[in-house]
Symmetry: C2
Amino acid sequence: MTRAHNFSAGPAALPLSVLERAQRELLDYGGSGMSIMEQSHRGAVYDAVHNRAIANLRELLTIPDGYQVLFMQGGARGQFAMVPMNLLRRGTTAHYVDTGTWSAHALAEARRRGSAESIWSSADDGYQHVPTAVDVPSDSAYLHITSNNTVVGSQIHARLDGGDVPVVVDMSSDILSQPIDVTQYGVIYAGAQKNMGPSGVTLVVVRDDLLERSDDNLPETMHYGKVAAKNSMLNTPPTFAIYLVGLVLEHLKELGGLEAVAATNAHKAELIYRTIDSSAGFYTGCVQPAARSRMNVTFRSPSADLDKEFVSQAADAGLIGLKGHRSVGGLRASIYNAVPLESVRVLVEFLEEFKRTRG
Amino acid sequence: MTRAHNFSAGPAALPLSVLERAQRELLDYGGSGMSIMEQSHRGAVYDAVHNRAIANLRELLTIPDGYQVLFMQGGARGQFAMVPMNLLRRGTTAHYVDTGTWSAHALAEARRRGSAESIWSSADDGYQHVPTAVDVPSDSAYLHITSNNTVVGSQIHARLDGGDVPVVVDMSSDILSQPIDVTQYGVIYAGAQKNMGPSGVTLVVVRDDLLERSDDNLPETMHYGKVAAKNSMLNTPPTFAIYLVGLVLEHLKELGGLEAVAATNAHKAELIYRTIDSSAGFYTGCVQPAARSRMNVTFRSPSADLDKEFVSQAADAGLIGLKGHRSVGGLRASIYNAVPLESVRVLVEFLEEFKRTRG
């Protein structure tokens, strides 16, 4: 088998060693004579997998006491609704930082539920920049930010301080890509399918005091406090997806944790951005340099026709998923944790060669 | 590897051939050089998997035009909330048939959202019987039933007619176990983890006219009409879980479809119930014979201590998951589609032997 160089935006590449282990264990987990996906979620075998994944998340992300770690379903888009369901009480207003498509969707979803306002937006320049600071009313229900924007290819690199207002962050596309300070946040949520595992499981990290806010009449499976009280076993969790997240976490620990992972990610991004910037204008980046994402590198060739040719020739060469998001066009290389440095080197060579023949 | 005889109530046994195929394909789906779980949900490779699963569901369950087939997240428990969110308009009342723990939970969840009443209940006799007919007010928002009750081990065998009132059925634990007449129902929902696949994906089959009822302000990912309009790709679906459901569906077709599957299931249940009934009172069934489930066979030995010994000795003999639900105790053999006849034969021998030595 020739392994593809997978630059998909999500679902995305997973570590080969994780897939190999999952393959080995698929028919018989730990000598049980059953697949992990055939195990009762109430049994000791799955219970250990579940709790080890949570413990490893706590360790890798340095999640302190006073925060709950939840596995939920429905993706980040589900959380666009569940955050206001849980945190936005009647008579209060939530504030959103609008740095891209997903921020705007999150705000629209909050408005279906209650009062929510955009407090900062770069929509006017096509989301080419991100804030370095924002001013949030002290009586805000919460401040919502999107740490990395997959569509336009930007990332918030500054710490946005909410003061006493809890900061809620959609970290779907850069979680586990670098160390973070969890204590900055009231809620961190992330779909798994970029840096954590397969689609179908959503991580929610929530500060204990915020669990008090949820109305008892929320649907049980969407009530942070009730899910936390049952250690994410209020109903049957997506057991196989959580098992795979657990394998990814163990792999990240073997790599040396998030400091090591972040260094590799920075190097991967630097290699591509340098190629773009030294292309004498053949390639242009889509966002301001200070806003560039280390996860989703967006750029364009001189024309939409050449972009199309680029994607097609790249696919022929085994480089997959380089088409920009359908809403913005252009080109995009998503280089999450599991995209190997070697794949990035192959991409850089391809970028050089394409420019040489078409420039 | 010795494969366990898996009688778990869910997550439950999967067909061995499905697991073997998933294992073979795990690193390289269809020569793509990527796992199916690494494929973009917007790409042609996953798209084919997604649509083939839907087409096979339509074929196996004989789902006619005029019904949508949705893949959602959150399990049946999520649907306990989403059904009233979508179908229970203010000023109307929904009616529930209470045949067990999950029916009662579904009703409680509906009451968090609006007006809902129990129209029939066997709670007074510990859910030992099921209705053969119910009387539902003609202005009811919907009639909710639970076709099979995993905890107590009962199954509704009669057709419960709602007249013009749409019947909503939680079919989590007997879907695909026998042919059904979809046109009896307004909505069919089912978590996958008993007869369809791994946990983490929920099937919803909904009649077109009911899609009109949902309020535009529902969370997008929970709005039946909006999910249907995007063919369950409104957000990233649980792609690997849906792929596995697809493999299970192809397996069921190879077995000859649901008529053949139902015949085997009836035979499996008959073998165990006959052993219980011919045990001269050593084993007793937990529900009235007319209410017995073909999916979850519940019974007791002469004492709670012997039940405990039974579970322990069975596990030593490679028979897993025979403990009754923690809320009712006793013993339970869940014999979903993927539990082989051979496992049932081994269980019957074990039942005989345990009675011989302890009777």
